[in-house]
């Protein structure tokens, strides 16, 4: 092979390898993206049935219940317009509190309960995960238009 052919072959191999790597990376990314939905969006059936997703909002005060085994907990997450029941088995993060923001990752079971595999602790200075804050803000925009609300949360009101 002449040097020029050699160089061409090297470049071709390099480009092919790069293409394969890029394809692998993009498919991995596509498979592992986790989308975020607000309780209102879940209520409107916008959330996927088969893959995991995240929900966020406020934990309804007084909704936290512990099963007799002590490990499984249930609570209700609301964006102040709609709410969704959540169950989670495991240790809750330090920042989890009733009336505060929360983000959970998991899937929706057939009975409409969100089965969380992970409850996230975001260390934000006002202890409100940005996704949760966003969900509440969106719901408020809707509520202001339609003039109805299902749950009111005084602490969330005070924050604004």
């Amino acid at each position: 092979m002449k040097p020029r052919h050699k160089r061409f072959a090297a470049i071709a191999v390099g480009v092919a390898a790069l293409g394969v790597a890029a394809a692998l990376v993009l498919s991995a990314l596509n498979k592992n993206l986790v989308f975020f939905f607000t309780p209102s969006q879940v209520a409107a059936n916008e959330a996927p049935q088969l893959r995991d997703f995240r929900i966020g909002g406020l934990v309804v005060p007084g909704s936290l219940k512990r099963q007799p085994d002590g490990l499984t907990v249930q609570f209700i997450v609301t964006d102040t317009a709609r709410s969704i029941p959540v169950t989670y088995r495991g240790t809750l993060p330090d920042l989890f509190r009733e009336g505060k923001g929360v983000v959970a990752q998991g899937h929706l079971s057939s009975d409409g309960v969100f089965q969380a595999s992970e409850v996230l602790a975001k260390h934000d200075e006002n202890y409100m995960p940005p996704e949760a804050a966003d969900a509440v803000k969106k719901a408020h925009a809707v509520v202001q238009k339609t003039g109805q609300t299902l749950v009111t949360d005084p602490q969330a009101e005070a924050k604004r």
Binding site: L29, F35, T91, R97
Partner: protein, 665 residues
Amino acid sequence: MIPELGQLALALALVIALAQGVLALAGSARGETAWMGVARPAAWGQFIFVAIAFACLAASFINKDFSVAFVAANSNSALPLQYRIAGVWGGHEGSLLLWTLILGVWMVAVSMFSHRLPDDMVARVLGVMGLVNVGFLSFMLFTSNPFDRLFPSPLDGRDLNPLLQDPAMVLHPPMLYTGYVGFSVAFAFAIAALLSGRLDASWARWSRPWTTVAWMFLTLGIALGSVWAYYELGWGGWWFWDPVENASFMPWLMGTALIHSLAVTEKRGTFRSWTVLLAIFAFALSLLGTFLVRSGVLSSVHAFATDPRRGIFILVFLTVVIGGSLALFAWRAPRIGLGGRFDPVSRESMLLTNNVLLVAAAGSVLLGTLYPLVLDALGLGKISVGPPYFETVFAPLMAPALFLMGIGPLSRWKKASLPDLALRLRWAFAVSLVTAVLLPLALGRSSAWVSVGLLLAFWIVASSAVNLWDRVKNAASGASVAARLASTPRAYYGMLLAHVGVAVFVVGVTLVKGYESQKDSRMSPGATEQVGGYTFRFDSVEEVTGPNYVAARATITAMKDGKLVVVMHPEKRIYASQESPMTEAAIDPGFTRDLYVSLGDAVDSKTWIVRMQYKPFVWWIWGGCVLMALGGLLAAGDRRYRVDVQRQSIGQLAAAQDATAAGVR
């Protein structure tokens, strides 16, 4: 008064930095010796004035001057002294001040240890660093002034985040920043090479120890952050692929590629444009990392919208630095040339493959980190990219790089022979393969992943041993083994040590991932649980009081085969200034395993949710990082960087190489 002094010092430092950047660069372009002479004293000037500003801010923290907004946000009258000092870098403004202080330290170091360099090169390097400092100082003065006052001043501060009240967290930011900012030296050397059109083996020799030292600090900084996350966040994870961690990991990957590419540029005069490009990228990612973590963009892209000045400044600054240096690269790179030729099977090509893999890894981390931010900023929805993405991408990219770590150092420059390599390494491979298959069986549970991980780790160690043996065997005959070992350059030992560090790290990661076990349980006094072959007995919980918190403190006894191993005391703390409780895990560290116990929620006054974990070989992860850093230290301390007896001959060699390379082209 003190804060105003600090502000004045910052403004003066900005003026000096501007003068240094402009005069030194213009002087070196026009050959004005007097202008170039400004560079060294100006470096000292910036350092001294930034140090004064830093001291002023520290004094405001120590004096509890809550009229300074930054102090009020990151300190509290009950905060112990050491954490009041650490509070200086506990937030955005102060950490920028720390950044410029460290830049000052690096500039002073360059001006002190650069007497072997030509004056115009020193002027260019310091000039570029001065311009970087202009960017940071004006960012601080115009958008994030640490000395801003509050009126009326609050009675008490908001307190330093309790998570940051920890020794590792006191050291982590300075270490990390020393690494980040250290890459500015490599960057400045690269820009200086582009400006002067001079890039040869001696250039690489100047630039190399600086880059290696910066890389060493970055390695330690990342490891400290990981240790901190392990014991302080309370859940026993050591790496979360969180954007904050990724922000420090990307420059590390790029920096690792850079130190290997520099090796080729120094030894062979090859990879020149590539080295320069890597230096630019490593520093660009350091800047990106600093801003990602400190600008608030991660907690919400919309934080940018609430304070657009900061966001716009950051974007403009990044564009100028990255765009400007890439434009300069496009314009000048043809002049510095590519360097010598090499065969597809040679040490050069293996290092090139390693480089490409590391850069691809950095690119995939960048994609996973920035993609959610970009989508959110464009209003296309909120997504997150979790650990599974990074793990899927990382394993196939790093496995070949680890395999090459065994072969690369043994192969010849320019043209290596595969059959010869196979012959030399056949025993190393056989031994590592057998061990990797048998060891998991001995440990009781085998899986393909554990075996692959162990195989790669043993392979690196075994081939490093072969490498050392060959070196001793082939050294000048007649010399004793000790003499041969003593005459081997330190840089060589540094390389071996760092590679063994990678192997130790891989062992840690593989065994933790393969054999860790965990159990969450509801426990009352007297209850026992079995985890990882250990029995945990929950004895009691009592209330204890700390300096600025109260805590529930549990007593848990760990036993093995009926014998007492350790008594552990995990805590749940409530800090006076915070609403939320904090989990303080109890850890019994060991060479081959950690026991890790943390308290969840209280079910009633005596019953708690307890998480018990068995973490085999977890300290090997950070031990590996320390070995890598020590390897870097050894390499950077090599004799040839300090003594210039060979300088002349190396210069001639490089010139000869240039001539042959030019002839071939």
